[in-house]
């Protein structure tokens, strides 16, 4: 008797409403899109519906919204100082969006939107283009001084400037791959270990060992909750750090 499982089946896009094709591209309202809008709905519930009473003494949900707000405001202020306030909506939206999507992924049978590279890359590209566009608008060509470390002998600059440029270009890649890979690997690991439980239970005498992968699955689930929150925080913090370059390009 064999039971098989496909640990990557959970990442498949499932079109709910198909809207046709443009060349190779399939246009459809997928479950991924549904989860994105659901996340927007949940965030709106926490930050808008729960705060509508504007209580001086907050209720639980309003308190949650205030905690998120102050947490992101503190993170942003630490990285960018006072000038970073204008990026509060961006960083807050990114943090909440990634956090809620990651947590959605933790619901059994649910889909983890952030396990798709194109989504995390889209968000990272938004961050980096904001940095570049704002940096050039505010500082003009001076923004590119970002790639020229100060107080370095001229001959060394020939080596350092390309390195700085490569490190800048790799930012959106590392930002998106970090989140995507964490979510993907975590969900695959959970699925595989959970499947081990099933396999061992069906393996006759070996079934006495089935609690081992069960405990591992429980531990992994706890770890994945941590990762879900941590990756959202990392994404927001790195965004704030990159935005600081746009505000203060001098090295």
């Amino acid at each position: 008797m064999a039971v098989t499982i496909d640990p990557i089946e959970q990442f498949e896009l499932k079109p709910l409403v198909s809207l046709g094709h443009i060349g190779h591209q399939q246009l459809a309202f997928t479950q991924s899109a549904l989860y994105m809008f659901a996340a927007v709905g949940v965030i709106a519930l926490i930050t808008i519906v729960a705060t509508s009473s504007r209580s001086i003494v907050p209720g639980r949900m309003q308190s949650l919204a205030e905690i998120f707000y102050e947490f992101i405001a503190d993170t942003l202020h630490q990285s960018t100082g006072d000038g970073g306030k204008r990026f509060m909506p961006l960083v807050f939206s990114l943090f909440m969006f990634v956090l809620i999507l990651n947590l959605f992924g933790m619901i059994p049978y649910a889909f983890a939107v952030t396990s798709h590279l194109i989504v995390t890359f889209g968000l990272a590209a938004l961050v980096i283009s904001t940095v570049v566009i704002f940096g050039v608008m505010k500082h003009g060509t001076h923004f590119f001084g970002l790639f020229v470390p100060s107080g370095v002998p001229k001959p060394l600059l020939a080596i350092l400037v390309p390195i700085e440029i490569i490190s800048f270009i790799s930012r959106p890649i590392s930002l998106s791959v970090r989140l995507f890979a964490n979510m993907l690997a975590g969900h695959i690991a959970m699925k595989i270990f959970a499947f081990f439980v099933v396999q061992l239970l069906l393996a006759g005498a070996w079934s006495v060992l089935s609690p081992l992968p069960l405990f591992l699955t429980i531990a992994l689930t706890a770890l994945e909750f941590l990762v879900a929150a941590l990756q959202a925080y990392v994404f927001a913090t790195l965004t704030a750090i990159y935005l600081n370059d746009a505000l203060h390009p001098g090295h």
């Binding site: 039971v3 591209q25 991924s32 194109i118 989504v119």
Partner: protein
């Protein structure tokens, strides 16, 4: 949160209900690793842009200004309350000091009044005593004068009584009344 999609393989929990002898093959996807399936990229990016754009708009226009105003209002309220408490404390301290001063003043005044009263009473008592003493002295003097007068009168009477008695005695002895002048001379001679 299960996806209502009958076309896909059953969720992992359902794998335990596999029919004996039936082997299920992982054919749910078309070969490519789903996260790298490029045919869905454009749609994903479009939906991401729409969803994130909506989220950004809601956060920027409604949620964040509202939360900020709530936090600001709370901070203001706390500051105002603390200021008020500080003002009240200052007021209470001032009242305490004023009370202390008033108490000290009142105590001083009370001491003054007591002293004055004591002095007045002492003076009054003194005056009364003096007046009484004078009155008594005056009475004493009057009494002494009266005694002296009475004594003198009495002494005067003694002379006349003695004269009459001597005249009577002489008349009895001699049968003839002595003349007045002789009698006076005799009296004066024996008076001392």
């Amino acid at each position: 949160m299960a996806q209502p999609n009958p076309l896909t393989t059953p969720p992992p929990g359902a794998d335990t209900q596999v029919v004996p002898g039936h082997v299920e093959h992982p054919e749910g996807h078309t070969g490519a690793f789903p996260p790298f399936e490029s045919s869905g990229f454009l749609a994903q990016l479009i939906w991401l842009a729409l969803a994130f754009g909506l989220l950004y708009y809601l956060m920027d226009k409604i949620a964040l200004p509202r939360i900020q105003s709530i936090l600001h209002a709370r901070a203001e309220r706390l500051r105002a309350d603390l200021d008020q408490a500080q003002a009240m404390k200052t007021e209470a301290d001032a009242a305490g000091v004023a009370f202390e001063t008033a108490l000290r003043d009142a105590q001083g005044k009370a001491r003054d009044i007591a002293q004055t009263t004591r002095n007045e009473l002492a003076a009054e008592a003194d005056a009364k005593r003096k007046a009484l003493e004078e009155q008594l002295n005056a009475k004493l003097a009057t009494s002494e004068a009266t005694i002296r007068q009475r004594t003198e009168t009495a002494m005067g009477n003694v002379r006349s009584i003695a004269g009459e008695a001597a005249a009577a005695i002489v008349e009895r002895l001699t049968g003839q009344a002595p003349d007045r002048a002789t009698l006076d001379r005799a009296l004066d001679a024996t008076a001392h």
